[in-house]
Amino acid sequence: MSAIHALAPGLGLDPSVIGGKAHGLVTLMRLGLPVPPGFVIPTAACRAFLDDGRLPGGELAEAVGELAAVTGRGFGDPARPLLVSVRSGAAVSMPGMMDTLLDVDSIDDLRAAVRRVFASWNAPRAVTYRELHDIPHDRGTAVVVQAMVHGHRDEHSGAGVAFSRDPSTGERRPYGDVLPRRQGDAVVSGTVPTLPLDTLAGREPAVWAALMDALDRVERHYRDVCHVEFTVESGRLWLLQVRPGGLSGHAAVRVAVDLVDEGLIDRATAVRRITPGHLRAAAVPRIRTAQILARGRGAGPGVATGRVAVTADGAVRMAAGGPVVLVRPHTSPLDLHGLAAATGIVTTTGGLTSHAAVVARSMGKPAVVGAAAVTVAADRIIVDGRSHPEGTVVTIDGTGGEIVLGVAETATADAGPHLARLLRWAAEAPVT
């Protein structure tokens, strides 16, 4: 049976052994950044469990004992209860495919939770994900167990996601979403309107400063743009995850070139990072404006301009007079004729695999989903307390998820200075 490891700066094990999530947490600890105390059950234990159904017995109790000592808390202690999170973390990230359990408060529940996370490695959805992403099926997932931090504790608490650079444009400025008095799952759900990350600067200046410092340190360590998931508990910042990279198209090109200018990577590395896929994505037209009405997630690439319709019937009626952007809370089969009539589609809830997103892509239409700041009323949409009646002209960007008022100018990245420089470097020193 493989050993369980406390999360500690000195833990020098590979992601294939402890999973990508634990590896990132160890990296954060090494950089002197705040990570809730915990331990990791390695991928080997998952393979053993899937083989014979057994969990590391005594070692698990021992690890919990150590965690209790470090935190000064205990399972079932009425005065200082120990609550833990139990999360999956495979060597290769499989976001959202496996189970996560929060606020686990006894050793029996912990065993059941670990069993559930291990078993979720073979959930059909996870199997499908691996099939489609060329991830081997025999590796198993590690499990990360950490003391809970609560984003909903008080008015100085919250949760968020922060990128070290704008993931849509690649510009060097922190970007992200934050939700006061909420746990992290609410931030990524796409159903609750989030606040822009920089609202933290005013609300919690000390947390903001700590977060900016953290983003700077992880960027310099990974020599790449990074994003972190964080929770603030009673004015104290905790980092729960870090991932480098992940931008695409124009944003990825810009970051690679900027990192060369900043001396973090050399030209050959920049050229190597930009694949033909990035170049193709960079050729998709994007909105060029700073005046964003609202932002969702880009679910069907391309830019569409049209008059807002808030019902499928309205979209059909209005489409006779010119292009229409259909804005709905979500879509059902009753909206299909409206989706067919519209030039672009916006939903205020739902994610990239929602019915609306699938239908929009099947029709080849630009779509933005999960624009949670937009409210759909009977004859208008409302954003930040301001009404925009049906018929208002908007432009949507199905790549970056932006919604802007009026007819927006578009541009492709092919003519941009960043891409030109990258292509020149590629020509000067061909990469084999």
Partner: protein
């Protein structure tokens, strides 16, 4: 008496043309049109002219349909069976959405781009997972058909779409039939979307 067969077919399909309603309802087009006209006289369905027009339920039609399917469900004593099948369906639903997305978009080197269907290996893998999902949804379809025979058409329609390789393309694609089954379950059980 209100014709629930055609009304409910239309309710689950949304707006569509006569031939499609007829085909899904399993009736000749002339017969379907005659029934639709009767429903229109009752104020339960309406026909919108124009390029994106077609037949669809009115607000009153949606309310009456909800009332009638609830009555039908309870008369058949099928609420528990349909609820249980719905729960099983919802376990499979995220996977169907993942697969439909994978059919349209492919992530290469971390970049999602339109699947141009030039890589047969990738398409075969998506299709294989679709086929596997289809196998696992079969007991759900069978349980629904046993509870209420009108659910029987979904199994056939899903198979037809899969055999055609129409995973998420046309209005009668696998994804769209699944989407309508989802809607049907919500309407039948009176669950808001």
């Amino acid at each position: 008496m209100t014709d629930l067969r055609v009304l409910h077919t239309l309710r689950c399909m949304g707006f569509t043309d006569l031939d499609r309603v007829a085909s899904v309802a399993g009736l000749p087009p002339e017969e379907t049109e005659s029934r639709l006209i009767d429903l229109a006289v009752e104020g339960l369905v309406t026909r919108t002219p124009g390029a994106f027009g077609g037949w669809g339920p009115t607000e009153a039609g949606k309310i009456e349909d909800a009332r009638l399917v609830a009555e039908e469900l309870d008369k058949a004593g099928a609420r528990a069976a349909v609820t249980s099948a719905y729960e099983d369906f919802m376990v499979l639903n995220p996977e169907l959405l993942d697969l439909s997305t994978a059919w349209h978009l492919r992530t290469v080197d971390g970049v999602a781009a339109a699947n141009d269907h030039t890589d047969a290996g990738y398409d075969d893998r998506v299709l294989a997972r679709f086929t596997d999902l289809d196998r696992r949804v079969s007991p759900v379809c069978a349980a629904l058909a046993a509870a209420l025979p009108r659910f029987g058409s979904y199994r056939t329609r899903l198979s037809t779409a899969l055999a055609r390789g129409d995973l998420a393309e046309s209005t009668s694609s696998y994804h769209n039939v699944w989407f309508q089954l989802h809607e049907d379950l919500l309407v039948t059980l009176g669950i808001p979307r």
